[in-house]
Symmetry: C2
Subunit: 271 residues, 2 copies
């Protein structure tokens, strides 16, 4: 027996390989139906970034990339193919860190992450010509991607749901990657509880919670990355807040560099 | 209908205020029974750090604290009571950052977090004498706390479960706090999938996942911080890995400073 106020994390079975232009919301709705599941108001559909990127055709064939001089400079430091470095640079507004195996940038979205989220794994090789190496880029506007999917789910099912696009990022201070929300639609990703009182009447301080990232982490627990990958997870029963319009989505989770004491050495003071 | 391979996050209702020396595992087991729930092998019981700290008597009355000269120096920079600063310093091995409202340290456990996790909210005031201000410190050894609870749950219920003690930490690059695992017992907190192959036979890289923190984030979604606080969440159906013995718990999630390019300015290179 599961209590009424519990939250379910439900892996959506049988999602096929996604191709550019597929009706992703329809495919997910069909797979849910095959599992005797119907979307309900308040559900959250979490999608791995990779299938959204593939659906949006955000794929680059390394064979067609010409590396710049800067990419050639960085490549031996990052221990990467110069064309791969070029693809990452094209997705970035700033290089944060380069060392063998670690290439951290700020993407055009403002995400500080390894390799601008550009990834080679789990990409089938369309055409499969000799020398083809396909990379998947992050969606260009993940909040817009989430909003478009939300609208399409509403058309298909009538349900008012939230959509979350997640990825896995490393972080300072802690080992291992965790799920993060690249894009959301239909939920408040950053919940500000400051000013509320706790059980003893003491006003809470510093209680701004990254609900979007916690949902992404929860979904990520079921997604896996290897052969048994499950790119879509249904989150049911979560009492999230409705966003004001326009919905700023997961952009609220990006910390502006000038509010980040860890971002630049110049911001740091030793005591 | 909930599919068999789903994960449930179940808030445990009716947990009373916890006092030093209470049999915490027994209280939780009783409240689960009142909700018609029985612990099963493989369950994860997630506990908010605050109730574990209170249970272990990790409470300090500010009135009994004498601030050092260093605490007096830092207090105006941090905009805090010098005695409060002293309590934080006592819990820390290094001060990382001080500015009004932001006091980041490395705790004796190695956690880099605000105020060494020392918190005033949700602490009842035992005795309630004029001038009493109670602070809760983090558990001294959260992995040991988790292991002790795991053993006690086994005695009470016969179930082999995992225990997770979670808190909320801020982080660089991203706005808002997220749940993190301070201590775990009975599960692999840091899962290393490197060397596994993806669906297309490509060997995965950089896929070390902080499962402990993702579980903490998932539990945190239901815990809340304000009046409706739910300090215990049962996670059911999660297929986590069993740790080798001795169980190193959530210590695996603490990044050694020498593996952290963001930790010290000296580690940084601009490109």
């Amino acid at each position: 027996m599961t209590p009424d106020n519990s939250v379910q994390l439900i892996p959506v079975p049988g999602i096929p390989l996604i191709k550019p232009g597929d009706d992703l919301a329809e495919i997910i709705t069909q797979q849910l139906a095959a599992a005797n599941l119907t979307l309900q108001d308040g559900d959250v559909v979490a999608l791995a970034q990779k299938i959204v990127s593939k659906n949006e055709g955000r794929l680059v064939n390394l064979r067609q990339v010409v590396a710049s001089e800067r990419a050639h400079q960085i490549a031996p430091l990052a221990d990467k193919d110069p064309r791969h470095v070029q693809v990452i640079l094209d997705e970035s507004r700033e290089v944060i860190w380069v060392s063998p195996g670690i290439f951290v940038v700020e993407t055009h979205h403002g995400f500080v992450c390894a390799n601008a989220g550009v990834d080679r794994s789990n990409i089938e090789q369309p055409g499969a010509e000799e020398g083809d190496i396909w990379l998947a880029l992050l969606p260009k506007d993940p909040n817009q991607s989430a909003a478009t999917l939300k609208t399409r789910f509403k058309e298909l099912t009538g349900a008012n749901i939230a959509v979350l696009i997640n990825d896995t990022h490393g972080r300072p201070f802690r080992m291992g990657g965790v799920g993060v929300a690249l894009g959301t639609a239909g939920l408040v990703a950053l919940v500000d509880e400051r000013g509320e009182r706790d059980m003893f009447g003491y006003t809470l301080q510093n209680t701004v919670v990254a609900t979007g990232d916690e949902l992404a982490g929860a979904a990520s627990l079921l997604m896996g990355q290897a052969a048994e990958a499950t790119p879509v997870v249904l989150i049911r029963g979560m009492r999230y807040r409705q966003p004001k319009q326009p919905d700023t989505g997961a952009a609220d989770l990006v910390r502006p560099p000038n509010k980040d004491v860890f971002r630049y050495p110049a911001n740091r003071k030793e005591f």
